[in-house]
Amino acid sequence: MTPLINALACLLALLPASFLWTSPRSIARYGISQALILLCFMLFTFFTGDMEDPMMEFYPLKMWAFCLCVSTLTLTKKRTFFMTLAQGLWFWIVFFGSLSLAYRGEPVNNLSMILLFFGMIGVQFFKQNPKEISLGILIYWVGIWMLF
């Protein structure tokens, strides 16, 4: 996957993030919208990525977790809590995915996991949400996405 397509994936993941939690819906409708977003990411990966590369196996999941992370910035209630959860999901996907890939001889990127772990701890210190801090966190996540 080239850096350009990686950046494109980042933009694609940012797209649904802003209106994910806007209108009140039922649990079933939330589930379906999540599923469709995930499906979009999978289709994107399938058509742009090299499916022989094992790293692609969890690429759409990483996109989804990234999207969920960013979407928590729009929340008003319990933002820190959901931020932690979303980053936890991202960490989970990367950690266990890499663990299984390590058995196939794929290199493990420890740095992204460490950054995500510190992100989970870090957001505990930002209880209020001024715009600057939200932007900072967003840049932190985009940085993790783009660089690692």
Binding site: A28, G31, I32, W92, F96, G97, S100
Partner: protein, 539 residues
């Protein structure tokens, strides 16, 4: 209804126990396996039942954390189903072992022979995670029952829910890694952890729908969750098709298409239809595991069918048995919940215990890692987190129960548990008797060997006790007991000649015993030549 299902469970246990008996006495040959399919139907059932064990915690602990309103009404049923399902699930991998009595080899605790479990194997992670999950689930349900009387325990419950939240996901993630780390390309997939968690929650929710119907209750939110999960899982099935080109129509039909019928209000109101959907989901999820683990057509044996009786029978009898027991004690227990309580742990206690748990896990790591550094560091984490949870969960639970239960009772029960724990540690430390294997030979007597033994060794073992290592004679022995011994001078040896001396060795003379049968002729000749050599050295 409850009573009837309990009896159905007991009746199903009859063929179930027969299955168990067959499986244990014949071994893995009693179910469908061959020399290329090593994991069969017990593992399918294990993954299925451990998946069912997740809904309980999900609906109770995770929704408690997320502060979802309908959680309270169904939590006890859900927790009970977790306990029963873990008990069922843990049976299958145990039976599946080739030598069941060696199951304790999988416990990552150093035994007396200095051998340790292999931390690269996901089965070790599995063992630890499921054991800890069972322990904390039991703590959780006990605090639930106690909290009805003692509202102060609600804070313990909340902390335990926080511990269970990652733990329950951890368990099924680890189960998925059992497959994802292999070289089998149908099982490989870095998306497996999330895929397996979703599958587990999906089947678990369907089970809870059924268990609530038994109580003549209905929670609409769970049906919605069922639809949401079916969609997410459907997307994963599409992804699996992209990855491996595998598509299982029957799984999608039972697990996705039929669930969508819940959108139709007329059907949704029917109790029978809701049960139909719940069973359809269970069938779909069982099939999903089946087609994953056993990709080829195999011929089933009676025991393969028997697992259903065993699993369902044991689940129903344990679940409804406990249900009846709890209901007898307090008939309203399933419909009431504890009063609200805003009590919280003091920061000192909370952080103290958590720090203790971290220290416990790190200590375990520090003590064991240096002994086997060949295992990558990353492979330790799947065990360290459950150990952390065990310590923290046990501490919070003990602290909470200690504060509300009579002291005598508390120490009696914990004394019993400590007794078992100490016994297990002691047994590990002692190690047990050596397995002598099939034949334990009788130590033999040396015979004439076909190969000529090195002459120096032969002299040392056969001659030196009298003649001495250098032919000088063993003074301590000879001069005390025997009248005389010939001095092995070169002159004397030459006067006898090699042939006759060889005959002396074989046939004996005067005080010397015959060595025929213990020393071969070439060996005897070699000994004589060695004697010459020794004599030459002396002069």
């Amino acid at each position: 209804m409850v009573k009837k299902l309990f009896i159905v469970g007991l009746i199903l246990l009859i063929p179930g126990i027969w299955t168990l008996f067959q499986a244990l006495s014949i071994g893995p040959a009693s179910w469908a396996l061959d020399q290329s399919l090593f994991w069969g139907t017990p593992i399918v059932n294990f993954v299925f039942w451990i998946g069912l064990a997740h809904a309980g915690t999900f609906l109770s602990a995770i929704l408690l954390i997320l502060e979802v309103r309908f959680q309270k009404r169904i939590s006890l049923v859900a927790e009970l189903s977790t306990i029963a399902a873990i008990l069922v699930a843990s049976i299958f991998p145990l039976i599946h072992l080739g030598i069941v009595s060696r199951f304790y080899f999988l416990i990552p605790f150093f035994n007396e022979r200095n051998i340790f479990a292999n931390f690269s194997s996901p089965l070790i992670w599995d063992f630890v995670a499921i054991f800890v999950y069972l322990c904390i689930s039991i703590f959780y349900i006990v605090t639930h029952l106690l909290s009805l009387k003692h509202a102060s325990l609600l804070k313990t419950r909340k902390v335990l829910a926080w511990i269970l939240f990652p733990l329950v996901l951890w368990v099924h993630t680890i189960v998925s890694l059992d497959f994802a780390v292999t070289t089998n390309n149908l099982w490989q997939g870095a998306y497996f952890p999330i895929y397996f968690i979703l599958g587990a929650l999906f089947s678990g929710l369907a089970l809870v729908v059924f268990l609530l119907e038994v109580q003549k209750r209905r929670v609409r939110k769970i049906e919605e969750l069922l639809i949401a999960a079916s969609w997410l899982l459907f997307v994963f099935w599409i992804w699996e098709f992209f990855q491996k080109g595998v598509w299982h129509f029957e799984v999608v039909f039972f697990g996705f298409v039929i669930v969508q019928l819940l959108w139709i209000p007329v059907l949704r109101k029917q109790k029978a239809f809701r049960l139909f959907v719940s069973f359809s989901v269970l069938i779909s999820m069982w099939l999903e595991r089946y087609v994953l683990i056993i990709p080829l057509d195999i011929e089933w044996l009676p025991v393969d069918y028997g697992w259903f009786a065993l699993g369902i029978g044991l689940f129903l009898s344990v679940f409804f048995g406990l249900y009846l027991l709890i209901q007898k004690h307090n008939p309203l227990v399933f419909y009431v919940s504890a009063e609200e309580s805003n009590e919280k742990y003091s920061r000192k206690v909370l952080w103290g215990i958590l720090a203790g748990a971290v220290v416990f896990a790190l200590l375990y790591f520090a003590l064991n890692y240096p002994l086997d550094t060949s295992v990558p560091l990353m492979n330790w984490i799947p065990v360290l987190f459950p150990l952390f949870s065990l310590f923290a969960g046990l501490s919070f639970f003990a602290l909470g129960v200690y504060s509300v239960v009579p002291k005598k009772q508390f120490f009696l029960v914990s004394g019993l548990l400590v007794l078992i724990l100490g016994g297990a540690f002691g047994a590990f430390y002692a190690g047990g008797d050596t397995n002598l294997g099939v034949e334990s030979k009788i130590i033999s007597v040396e015979r004439v060997s076909k190969n000529n033994r090195p002459v120096k060794d032969l002299w040392a073992s056969r001659c030196a006790s009298c003649h001495g290592l250098k032919g000088e004679g063993n003074r301590k022995f000879i001069y005390e007991f025997y009248p005389e011994i010939q001095d092995l001078t070169l002159e004397r040896l030459n006067s006898q000649g090699e042939d006759s001396l060889t005959q002396v060795v074989l046939k004996g003379r005067a005080f010397m015993n015959p060595f025929e049968g213990r020393v071969s002729e070439p060996e005897a000749r070699a000994l004589i030549r060695y004697m010459y050599q020794l004599a030459e050295e002396k002069e």
